[in-house]
């Protein structure tokens, strides 16, 4: 986290269950060993809406 000092060898886990502003919804899990990121999991649970597929063949206006 910004401003926080980290001790080498200290292990930390950060889990954010609900990222509200990632164009939909998502969650993030971080595992840190000191300054070293050991694991990142990013989970988008926003249901797909397929806009890219729906737009095919439509005029921009």
């Amino acid at each position: 986290m910004p401003g926080e000092s980290s001790t080498p060898g200290e292990s930390r886990e950060i889990a954010v269950d609900y990222l509200a502003r990632v164009e939909g919804e998502g969650a993030m899990y971080l595992k840190l060993d000191g300054d070293r990121v050991e694991e990142v999991q990013f989970n988008i649970f926003e249901p797909p809406r397929f806009y890219e597929a729906l737009l095919r063949g439509r005029r921009f206006d």
Partner: protein, 261 residues
């Protein structure tokens, strides 16, 4: 001194397949937000706050459509813990733009959009909340109107029916003093078959209405079709217009299926 128990009704705001725009309308009520928060206890609203109180809730506001097996289960749970359930926006009330996939093969869509199709778990359809559970009131629009949302919450708090007219956008053009853009400069407009609520926003900026507020009461789509043909708009373009924000609204769906032949 102990605090008096909170007698305000509790509010929960839920999201299904949607863009968040409708629930953000609640946060956009800047001038009225404190008054609303004074009258109602915001108990669950992840878009606004991480603090949450457990249900049941007096009022649930639901945004978004049902497009995944998980959401088809989740809406049942939401209904079970809500005394009153109101759906907001074209996604929740009509299936939204994403209901266009109801006319297509969803497996093709998955491989077009996603590099790793096996990660995607989706139903073949996008359907409105009312197809799954009983809904107490449906507020239309893509997105909804702030004034109408306040009206619906106010009506809930005072135990009356919300006053949201079902007449066409044309009525609001007249109220606003906008000369008809279809008559005066031949711009195709869906206003005659679209429900009011937006204040006739698009025609006021010389753009035809796109039908984002759901079909108006008893829309005469056949007559609109004749007028559009007169403006040189063919059935293919009309079908696209009908299949946009409220493609799965019964009147628009039935007409678009008929004209698509």
């Amino acid at each position: 001194m102990t605090a008096a128990p909170d007698s305000r009704p509790t509010l929960a705001v839920w999201k299904f397949a949607s863009c968040d725009g409708c629930q953000l309308t609640l946060l956009d009520c800047e001038d009225e937000l404190l008054t609303i928060a004074g009258a109602i206890n915001i108990a669950y609203f992840p878009e606004a706050t991480r603090a949450e109180s457990p249900g049941p809730y007096d009022l649930s506001i639901v945004e978004g459509s049902v497009t995944t097996p998980h959401d088809a289960e989740r809406i049942l749970e939401v209904r079970a813990m809500s005394r009153t359930l109101i759906t907001i926006g074209a996604c929740a009330t009509a299936g939204g733009v994403q209901s266009l996939k109801n006319w297509a093969n969803v497996d093709d869509f998955i491989s077009i959009v996603y590099a790793e199709p096996s990660f995607i778990d989706t139903l073949a359809t996008s359907t409105p909340i009312a197809d799954h559970v009983e809904v107490d009131f449906e507020l239309r629009g893509c997105p909804i109107s702030k004034q109408q949302l306040i009206e619906v919450i106010d009506a809930f708090l005072s135990g009356r029916k919300p006053n949201t007219p079902t007449h066409s956008v044309c009525v609001e053009c007249k109220l606003r003093g906008t000369p008809c853009i279809m008559v005066s400069h031949g711009t195709p407009c869906m206003g005659p078959i679209t429900q009011s609520g937006c204040g006739a926003l698009c025609p006021a900026y010389n753009r035809g209405c796109y039908g984002c507020f759901w079909p108006s009461d008893s829309p005469n789509i056949e007559s609109l079709r004749d007028t559009w043909h007169g403006l040189g708009i063919d059935d293919e373009q009309l079908v696209r217009a009908l299949r946009t924000f409220n493609a799965y609204a019964p009147e628009f769906k039935e007409a678009s299926d008929r004209y698509a032949g």
